[in-house]
């Protein structure tokens, strides 16, 4: 019998082994495709984040130059009253320029001195003024202070300007290069933490541009959004999940909410422009309108999250409450809603994170204006962080590239913090029934 089988096998070669090998190879290949796909996605994420970090981290430092400033009593405060108004009106341009000239005694001639001033930020005189206002004891002394360099010098110091290029192709000419090298050799150049970036609003000069204005604008806008969307979203979720009868109307509302969640954000911007600005005549560029538009945009997200949080509360809780004589409304407000609240808050935070990163609808309602003031109320003209990023990304100066990336890093930090808060909240209050 076995002989016969062996004979048969030798006559007809057994193909099944090869077939199985082929099938297993196909299996391995298929698995590999999956891994490659995930790897590709991860690689793209890594490239995206690493290029932004690589471009942006240098913006957190700003090149400063040491100047020996003589805070001359007779110029700043001749009467010695130390009255802040007198102090603010003094000739700081003269004082600061004198300090610059003293640093380079060899430079003479009008054109050369004017070029010399260009090593420094145009903010120089105001920097000196702020120093005096912050510490009037400086008056009458001579002190070495660190002041911001101009953006081009900052770029040179950070190595973004190629010295080997011919002078005409460089933003910094040979003369300035010589002065910079001299300062550097004397130890008068240092890269310090860029506080300006976090304390000012937008500016045409990169070294004076900051994100505080945009941050405040974002905060005001999100505040409006939150105040509107949280109560409305929670109420709508409660009604649809707990009270609504099953009929055509509630079906319509449900389909409508699902569709609204997938409407392109820019359409909400068009709505805001046509309704809030043109019809109701609300102010352009204001966080009030931005917040309203973003509230309408995030509303479906929050309703959907709220409903699933309510769904997760087991029916036994409701039955127990009803059983001891609570009304339907009492059951919901006293028992179901508190249990669903962590889930609703998680959904709200995620919705807020979405609103914080949104740009397109805000372009429609005029939040792209160039705004140098920090907004003080929800009706002031303002911009928000993503729009600030969009504006800076368009600016031609090299120094704005690193500032754009740095602003992106700040935005991402806020988003990560919000999402982490959502995850922690979920972890802490998650209940398995």
């Amino acid at each position: 019998m076995t002989d016969a089988a062996a004979l048969l096998a030798s006559k007809r070669p057994d193909l099944s082994r090869a077939r199985i090998n082929r099938r297993y190879a196909a299996e391995k290949r298929f698995r590999l495709y999956g891994l490659i796909a995930i790897g590709a996605a991860m690689l793209m994420l890594a490239i995206l984040l690493s290029t932004i970090v690589a471009k942006g981290y240098s913006a957190f430092l700003q090149t400063h130059i040491a100047l020996d400033v003589t805070f001359d009593q007779s110029v700043i405060d001749p009467e010695g009253t130390r009255n802040p108004q007198t102090l603010a009106r003094a000739d700081y341009r003269g004082i600061s320029r004198e300090a610059v000239r003293d640093t380079f005694p060899e430079v003479t001639g009008r054109r050369d001195t004017r070029n010399l001033y260009k090593l420094f930020s145009t903010d120089l005189e105001f920097e000196v003024m702020r120093m005096v206002l912050a510490d009037p004891a400086l008056i009458g002394t001579t002190k070495r202070v660190w002041v911001k360099s101009a953006a081009d010098i900052d770029m040179l110091s950070k190595g973004y300007i190629n010295r080997d290029l011919p002078q005409a192709d460089r933003r910094v000419n040979d003369q300035a290069l010589g002065w910079y090298d001299k300062l550097d050799a004397e130890g008068r150049v240092s890269r310090l933490f860029n506080t300006t970036f976090f304390t000012t609003a937008d500016s045409r000069e990169p070294e004076q541009a900051g994100i505080l204005g945009a941050l405040v604008g974002s905060a005001l806008t999100l505040l409006v959004t939150l105040v509107i969307v949280f109560p409305v979203g929670v109420s709508a979720a409660v009604y649809l999940e707990e009270f609504a009868p099953k009929n055509k109307w509630t079906d319509l509302i449900e389909v409508n909410i699902n569709n609204l969640a997938a409407v392109p954000s820019i359409v909400f911007g068009l709505l805001g422009l046509a309704v809030f600005l043109n019809f109701f005549g609300l102010p352009r560029s204001a966080p009030l309108v931005g917040g309203l538009v973003l509230a309408l945009m995030t509303l479906p997200t929050i309703i959907i999250a709220g409903r699933s949080a309510l769904k997760a509360v087991p029916p036994s809780i409701r039955e127990a409450a009803l059983g001891v004589g609570a009304s339907h409304m009492q059951t919901v407000t006293h028992h179901v809603l508190p249990l669903a609240m962590p889930g609703m808050l998680t959904g709200t935070i995620i919705g807020m994170a979405q609103a914080l990163g949104e740009t397109a609808p805000l372009l429609m309602i005029g939040m792209v204006a160039f705004i140098v003031d920090i907004p003080g109320s929800i009706t002031d003209a303002a911009t928000v962080l993503p729009v600030q990023i969009y504006l800076w990304a368009d600016a031609p100066e090299r120094a704005f590239v690193e500032r754009t990336s740095a602003a992106i890093l700040v935005l991402l930090a806020f988003l990560i913090a919000m999402n982490l808060a959502a995850i922690l909240l979920r972890k802490k209050f998650e209940r398995r029934w």
Partner: protein
């Protein structure tokens, strides 16, 4: 600022109303709370709701119509020849008057009539604010006094409060519907104004797009052509590129995550993939414009291709990266919803895992997968910032991914950012494009959501 104070005052009055209601309910039964039909706090809430609701409605309507009414009153007090000017010019005059009134313009040589108008504007605003405060607080107080009379031991305060709260809940759910109606009406209204200037046939089928209308008759190169086909074609091209990137990567990762990955692997990779969806689109736009665009251009140059630095390829590629998580997470859900019995059946027949996936699971999950891809397409069509920053503005009618093309969303943004006059075809064209965008994405969404819902029901 005044509004904030008003709201605080109103809230204070509401708190007062609550206490009045509560006290009165308790007093009506001599402090024996158990004799009341409803808890004292419900009586309080009843009075409080009567105090705040009518007042809040008044505040809402007052504030939303205040500007329009003041403006029309200002227009009627302008001189007759000024009233005959175009809306844009009248608006200019009004905004100048507003600026004078608010002190933003402090020039000494403002002419007398404007100063008088500015005074009148300030007066009207003051009247409006004062009127709002008086009327609101009056209505609040009236509501308080009116509802206070009802309080009695047998009064069913809880039922009334619950009814009112239910009304509020319903009103909140209707806001979602109002939003949709608002979108449809505003788009239709502005688009219909556009279609009175440009025929819909020309808009939908014209091959030339150049929306810059001439300011002067003799200006060169501003014909004002509104044939949107090149814009639609550009959108389609970029969407196709994005889907070529996103569908294979998203689908394969979803399959791997659903069928092969260990729970540990899944718990690490899934959040990482979701980061891709959480990155703001403006960041992708920056990445596309400053990193991917130049990279592709240099790559093209090195092999002798002429690639525009704002090529459709760069925008599409980056958009594809953004779309990956949408495809993968939806497909992942869909694949997980395929019943285990189907897999077990295939394994029992001796199929390998990949054979099961390819021949059983994918066909079974196909409707759901198609639904998720449709949702991703709608997301890609409506995506704005990536294309605004990385795609071009010129409407080339081409299928060459190395050239610059423009999209519907880019055109909406360029037409509406900056100065707008709401009687020019240029500005209104943005709303017509928006209408098309809304309709197309709505159709895609409805199909996708229905398909996915049907599919879920099949296996539930």
């Amino acid at each position: 600022m005044n509004t904030l104070l008003l709201i605080i005052a109103l809230l204070a009055m509401t708190t007062l109303a609550y206490h009045v209601g509560r006290k009165r309910a308790l007093a009506s039964v001599g402090g024996n709370g158990h004799l009341l039909h409803s808890l004292p706090s419900y009586h309080g809430a009843y009075v409080a709701l009567w105090c705040i609701l009518p007042a809040a409605i008044i505040v809402f309507f007052w504030l939303s119509s205040e500007n329009a009414i003041i403006n029309s009153m200002m227009v009627s007090s302008l001189s007759l020849e000024q009233q005959d000017l175009s809306t844009a010019e009248i608006n200019l005059i009004l905004s100048e008057i507003r600026n004078i009134a608010s002190g933003a313009i402090r020039s000494t040589n403002i002419d007398e009539t404007k100063l008088a108008l500015a005074d009148r504007y300030g007066e009207l605003q003051f009247l409006s604010t004062a009127g709002l405060i008086v009327v609101t607080m009056g209505i609040g107080a009236m509501g308080l006094l009116y509802s206070r009379r009802f309080i009695a031991p047998r009064f069913r305060a809880r039922r009334w409060v619950e009814r009112m709260v239910m009304g509020l809940l319903i009103a909140c759910s209707i806001i979602a519907i109002l939003t949709t109606i608002g979108i449809v009406l505003s788009l239709l209204f502005e688009a219909s104004r556009f279609f009175t200037k440009v025929s819909p046939i020309e808009f939908l089928f014209g091959l030339h797009w150049s929306p810059q209308t001439a300011l002067r008759a003799d200006q060169v190169g501003s014909t004002g052509a509104f044939g949107a086909v090149p814009v639609f074609a550009g959108t389609l091209l970029i969407t196709i590129i994005a889907m070529i990137v996103a569908v294979p990567i998203g689908l394969l990762s979803a399959i791997y995550m659903a069928e092969y990955a260990t729970p540990h692997f899944r718990s690490v990779v899934k959040p990482l993939l979701e980061i891709l969806a959480g990155v703001p689109t403006v960041v992708y736009g920056f990445f596309a414009a400053l990193t991917v665009g130049p990279f592709i251009r240099d790559l093209g140059e090195s092999v002798g291709l002429n690639v525009a630095s704002e090529s459709a390829l760069a925008a599409g590629l980056v958009m594809g990266i953004m779309i990956i998580p949408f495809v993968s997470s939806l497909s992942d859900d869909v694949i997980n919803a395929v019943p285990q019995s189907l897999r077990d059946g295939a394994f029992a027949m001796g199929a390998t895992k990949s054979e099961t996936i390819r021949q059983i699971i994918i066909p079974a999950a196909l409707p759901g997968i198609v639904g998720s891809i449709l949702l991703a397409v709608s997301r890609a069509i409506g995506e704005t910032m990536i294309v605004v920053m990385a795609a071009g503005l010129s409407a080339n009618f081409t299928a060459n991914p190395f050239e610059a093309v423009t999209t519907v969303t880019v055109q909406i943004v360029t037409l509406l950012v900056g100065d707008q006059e709401f009687d020019s075809a240029k500005t209104l064209a943005a709303f017509a494009l928006g209408l098309i965008l809304f309709i197309v994405t709505l159709i895609l969404n409805v199909i996708a959501l229905t398909v996915v819902r049907k599919y879920r029901e099949k296996y539930d």
